[in-house]
């Protein structure tokens, strides 16, 4: 099966041009991009992404400003490269779920990921997403029971986000039996790729992920690299990834 690997970048961070260029460059290797909308209270994120969120907010980044750049990225990358918005529930709820999904549609977003909406609360979001043709990503975790994995697998569209560890973004990836077993169950029931994320930082982490999952997501490492080392280092790392995995 073809792999489905993704990267996460914070929207408009560290600045608009760098963000757009990194997105386009990264999507030469990755199959999809998750775009974070900065939020004041990112409880699922570790220091690197939380700090990126704060820095973006201090610079006046708003959801609309990020959507404008998503629209731009959409015109610069081929249609089979997918764009997901990753945002906390308040952004979607506060704007109005319909209005938010319409903004996704008009900027060329393919799917939405909301880390503080568990499966049990997801219908009010996923039903509107689906009505607008936007994929709704569900999660499985090391804590999920078999029934929960089956339910998430049955309802996920786009891909199924498999969280490698109990924890927040930016920690150390886990490949324990609880998550590997759940990935196996998910792949049996899911119609979409099962992708491993949280703590995937090295080429080796990626290779390990692909032993069990359909793909991996790299976030913290890339956000950090882009911010602290700049676009050239980021670009070199993308080349390194391309050389190590068959695309």
């Amino acid at each position: 099966m073809k792999t489905y690997n993704g990267m996460y970048l914070m929207g408009n961070h560290p600045d608009e041009d760098t963000f757009v260029q990194a997105a386009v460059r990264g999507l030469e290797f990755f199959d999809f991009l998750e775009i974070g909308l900065p939020f004041s209270d990112p409880v699922a994120d570790g220091d690197v992404i939380s700090n990126a969120s704060n820095t973006a907010l201090e610079k006046g980044v708003t959801p609309d400003k990020v959507f404008r750049n998503i629209e731009k990225i959409r015109t610069l990358v081929p249609g089979h490269k997918h764009l997901y918005v990753m945002t906390y529930a308040n952004h979607v709820y506060f704007r109005g779920i319909d209005t938010f999904m319409e903004a996704c549609v008009s900027s060329g977003v393919n799917g939405i990921i909301i880390p503080d909406v568990p499966c049990r609360e997801s219908v009010r979001f996923s039903s509107v997403a689906s009505a607008n043709g936007i994929w709704y990503v569900q999660f499985i975790t090391p804590e999920s029971s078999r029934e929960q994995v089956i339910e998430a697998s049955a309802t996920a569209t786009g891909f199924l986000y498999s969280i490698s560890v109990r924890g927040i973004t930016g920690g150390k990836a886990g490949f324990s039996d609880d998550i590997l077993d759940n990935i196996r169950i998910a792949r049996e029931f899911s119609r979409v790729p099962v992708v491993l994320g949280f703590g995937i930082k090295t080429i080796d982490d990626g290779i390990k992920s692909l032993h069990s999952a359909d793909g991996f997501i790299m976030g913290t490492r890339l956000v950090d690299m882009l911010y602290s080392k700049g676009l050239d280092s980021f670009s070199m790392f993308i080349s390194e990834l391309s050389n190590n995995y068959s695309v």
Binding site: F39, S40, D41, P42, V43, A44, G46, S50, N54, L57, T62, P63, D64, Y88, A89, N90, H91, Y93, F94, R95, P115, D116, V117, P118, C119, R120, E121, F139, I140, T141, P142, E143, S144, S145, Q148, A152, I163, V165, R166, G167, I168, G171
Partner: protein, 392 residues
Amino acid sequence: MYTMPDEIGYFGEYGGVFIPETLVNTLNELESAYNFFCQDNNMQDELRQLLQHYAGRPTPLYLARRLSEKYGATIYLKREDLLHTGAHKLNNTLGQILLAGYMGKKRIIAETGAGQHGVATATVAALMGMECTVYMGSVDMERQRPNVSRMKLLGAEVVPVNHGSRTLKDAINQALRDWVTNCNSTHYILGSVVGPHPFPRIVRDFQSIIGEESLTQVIEQTGGMPDDAIACVGGGSNAAGFFHPFIHSKVKLTGVEAGGRGMSDGDHCATLTTGKPGILHGCITYIIQDNNGQVLPVHSVSAGLDYPAVGPEHSFWKDSGQVSYAHCSDTQAMRACVELSRLEGIIPALESSHALGYLMEHSEKFRNRTVLINLSGRGDKDMDTILKETGL
């Protein structure tokens, strides 16, 4: 019959479970533990014993004669300031530590604003021999230093939180991050009626003893029901527990939020007056946020009220009109703190001073009425702030 929250954790439109998927089963486990507690006489008896012999319940309902005389009403104070550790917070932490023990958890975490919930958590963790970590915004650590020392003395680790506004909101964020990482070993004793289901219900129920005792005591002392009940509201735990037994009565209930320095953005935390519904810390509720859905900085002289959201049940009560919500400024609360100290020889916490301040500022509304005020905590922890603000 009042049956909120419903079986999926909603108070009408408010509440719910908006947390990372990883915590879903941990919250289910907590709900099962609480349901067991509600059916189990032994556990309930253990809590009753602790509340009586360890914490000092029932707390008095005190007729404040000189205060009543000056403000033209019959004013009773529910003396939660006399509870062990100096505030109502212990009612909840004693209940939750029993749930933690039942679930086999070995480690306790908590957030704290004023430090009262942190002290109450450190206290019960010491009592049960459990490891305890308390997250506290670094701004709050500075303004509530005595409580930081108390927590340390009780054996808790106090972790400063330097993110965001470095107050209660950010302490909750950090506690949630810890919990999602250590959910198997750790129980998070959330200190207010906020957060994901079942916390708003559990905390309200454990705090309802305030209202239940007040109801019995006021009938014993006056032969009837009061006209009004007033409590301060930050997250809203003391108010929720105080109001709950009165919710279907004719008693007029007023929750008083912190009006801070004024009603401009960033100067207050009057969430129910100025906020809009949103999702923060696990539930749908009123939140102080900007037009882009970013949670705004808030201010109150009182660290325990310095919070940009409120419990979902208060949001429901506001919309249904079952409770009225008002606000009291920093200055009015400070004046009330001095006034009560000098009229009654009781130094109230700055949080509770907001409920008193509202009554004093609007005494015409309460003339010749019988008013219960929940004196949720004592003011010892606030001495630095009080001295600075009043120039005493």
